[in-house]
């Protein structure tokens, strides 16, 4: 008799369960544990070292009355919205261009994708330099004779976020383009044929048929891009260091500054908890769309 009693079901496929241990530990200890720890300590007045001295919501009160934090939030919101719109729009348009059965497709694709290989540190440095009014585009154009030409986004609080955007898009659109291209290629050829037979112009087909069909790709892209935006840090540090003034401060910088420079961990934790909250706000609808509706089988 090789029948097994029910109790042993726990030990069925033991190997699989053992193999999942790293994942389980990581999720429990690092992601759940670490997050809880951070949230808990955001209710304390920890300074340089974590200290279990409960102060209620004080850190949050201070956080939300802090101009820098508010500026950082607004900067991120502005940058985030612009970046989302442009990354996705540009990524899609580029993908559409590359999807026209063009020659040298892979060359163009490589050109658009290579910045993705570079770190934000590098991206920030290069663009800081190209946008530098003394030697970058502004100076070059002036030397060509347009003496009054001004293009100095990084040193003007009103435009600095666009300066970041130029660099951010340069780095990230290639990847978005790849995702979109993969999505476009996944669309049934027959749909195109059907639209042609129906006499639908190409642009209309893209707009009314293809884009709605690519909804999952758009959602995936949206989430990936949005997650990147919330984490935005290196680029700002390298390109503007949050300046001029606080015009390009972002929440991640605030967290880092308060945790380490200001030696006010409690404040840093409170700020990071707020970031986490915003992540959840982005993610929960997505998770609902992604996992709520359909079953994976």
């Amino acid at each position: 008799m090789s029948g097994k009693p029910r109790g042993l079901r726990l030990f069925r496929n033991l190997n699989a369960k053992v193999a999942a241990v790293p994942m389980v530990l990581t999720t429990l200890v690092v992601f759940v544990g670490g997050t809880l720890w951070t949230v808990l300590y955001s209710f304390t007045n920890s300074k340089l070292l974590p200290r279990w001295q409960f102060v209620g919501l004080d850190q949050y009160k201070r956080l939300w009355s802090n101009d820098l934090w508010n500026a950082a939030i607004w900067n991120l919101a502005f940058y985030g919205v612009m970046s989302l719109i442009f990354t996705i729009a540009m990524g899609f348009v580029l993908a559409v261009l590359l999807d026209q059965k063009i020659r040298f497709e892979s060359t163009f694709r490589t050109i658009m994708l290579y910045p993705f290989a570079l770190s934000f540190i590098v991206t920030g440095l290069v663009w800081q330099w190209i946008l530098n009014p003394e030697m970058g585009i502004q100076e070059v154009v002036r030397r060509m004779g347009f003496e009054t030409f001004t293009f100095d986004p990084l040193h003007n609080p009103d435009t600095v976020l666009y300066g970041l955007l130029i660099a951010g898009l340069w780095q990230g659109t290639g990847f978005t383009m790849c995702l979109m291209l993969a999505g476009l290629r996944g669309i049934d050829e027959d749909i195109w044929k059907a639209a042609r037979v129906d006499g639908i112009p190409k642009w209309k087909t893209y707009l009314f048929v293809v884009i709605p069909m690519m909804r999952p790709v758009f959602i995936t892209t949206l989430v990936i891009v949005a997650a990147g935006i919330i984490k935005l840090y290196d680029l700002v540090v390298a390109q503007t260091a949050g300046g001029p003034g606080n015009a390009s401060q972002v929440p991640a910088m605030y967290v880092y500054r308060y945790m380490f420079t200001a030696q006010n961990l409690g404040q840093g934790f409170a700020a990071s908890t707020m970031m986490l909250l915003s992540v959840l706000i982005v993610l929960i609808p997505w998770a609902y769309l992604e996992f709520g509706g359909k079953k994976h089988g």
Binding site: D188, K193, V197, D198, I200, K204
Partner: protein, 360 residues
């Protein structure tokens, strides 16, 4: 006779590979043409050329008396139905049907009228506000047909419209398409690799191989008098039984191993004496009997008996290990190993030349 579609010397190459070779087809007004052939023979390619979805390399295409060789697909007066349905998934059925019309700036009432008519013909009225995802396969296919229907076109092109459906639904929709055709009476070109569809639907079947039309004729003609070995073997399930032998006695008999079959009564050309020839016999044109008849029967041993509900297939082994199949009434059960004799109905047989592979 009015020509609905004329294909003149059509050639199409992808790079150096020529996929369609110098094709000529005339389709009469209201005719139902089926393109049949093995996978990769160019059926879809030909259909796409007719629709204007592929630029042809050479030749001309005329539809309704107009040279449309370089016209846009939407200007050709054709509607097309795809194997994968190709419905716009995010639009309702009504949206799918009206998208092309709206794009052509047709007035709203006219659009509604046409949709109503199509919905009535195809019985999809209750589905108009659903999305394709909420439809069954058969319903989707009907909507796909509807999309061609509302455009009020002269020519319908179907590319394997039923092959994603299960057998039962397939046979039902087949009948519906036939009804549709007899009701609308417009020209239809229909690609399939399902013989039953081809045989039941077509006014004429074009059997293709490697980009060349092998035979273009009425179904019974193709079934009973296949013009060459390929067509003979391709049409019919199970396949025609082929006996490799020789015609002897100046073409009056066929010699297969020790068996000689009398060819008197063969319907075809002059047979002559050929050292190598092939006798083709369809399973339903053989009758199993216990006793031999000189010049009329082939001895064989029963191997397997396959009852198929309405009738039954018997698989036998003849001289030289040749596997043969015979269709018998389902009541007649044969047990393996029985020695029998197969009586040939020579009037329904085909003889092919081994070299040219043509029917003689």
């Amino acid at each position: 006779m009015t020509h609905s579609i004329q294909v003149k010397d059509l050639t199409l190459s992808f790079g150096s590979v020529s996929v369609l070779k110098n094709m000529n087809i005339d389709v009469a007004e209201g005719e139902f043409i089926v393109l049949l052939g093995p996978s990769g023979c160019g059926k879809s390619t030909l259909l796409n050329c007719l629709a204007g979805l592929l630029d042809i390399t050479d030749g001309e295409i005329w539809i309704k008396g107009k040279n449309v060789t370089w016209a846009e697909p939407s200007e050709r007066g054709i509607g097309m139905v795809f194997q994968s349905y190709a419905l716009y998934p995010q639009m309702t059925v009504r949206g799918n049907l009206s998208f092309g019309l709206k794009n052509a700036r047709m007035p709203k009432e006219e659009i509604d009228k046409r949709i109503a008519r199509a919905a009535e013909i195809l019985q999809i009225g209750p589905l108009l506000d659903r999305k394709p995802a909420a439809l069954s396969g058969g319903q989707r296919q009907r909507v796909a047909i509807g999309r061609a229907l509302v455009r009020d076109v002269d020519v319908f092109l179907f590319d394997e419209p039923l092959s994603n459906l299960d057998a039962k639904l397939r046979s039902e929709l087949r009948v519906e398409i036939k009804r549709l055709h007899s009701r609308l009476n417009n020209t239809m070109v229909y690609v399939t690799h399902d013989q039953i569809e081809a045989l039941t639907l077509a006014d004429r079947i074009a059997v293709m191989r490697g980009g060349i039309i092998q035979q273009l004729a009425a179904p019974q003609e193709i079934y009973n008098r296949p013009s060459n070995l390929f067509v003979a073997g391709f049409i019919g399930s199970p396949s025609m039984n082929f006996l490799h032998g020789a015609t002897v006695e100046g073409g009056r008999a066929f010699q297969f191993g020790a068996t000689r079959i009398d060819l008197a009564g063969y319907e075809g050309g002059a047979i002559l004496e050929r050292p190598k020839a092939i006798l083709g016999l369809r399973p339903e044109h053989l009758v199993i009997q216990d006793h031999a008849e000189l010049g009329l029967t082939i001895p064989a041993v029963v191997e397997i008996d396959e009852p198929m509900g309405a009738d039954s297939l018997v698989w036998l082994e003849a001289e030289g290990g040749l596997k043969m199949s015979v269709r018998v009434p389902v009541e007649r059960r044969m047990s393996a190993g029985t020695q029998v004799h197969l009586k040939v109905d020579i009037a329904k047989a085909s003889i092919f030349d081994t070299v040219s592979e043509q029917r003689v």
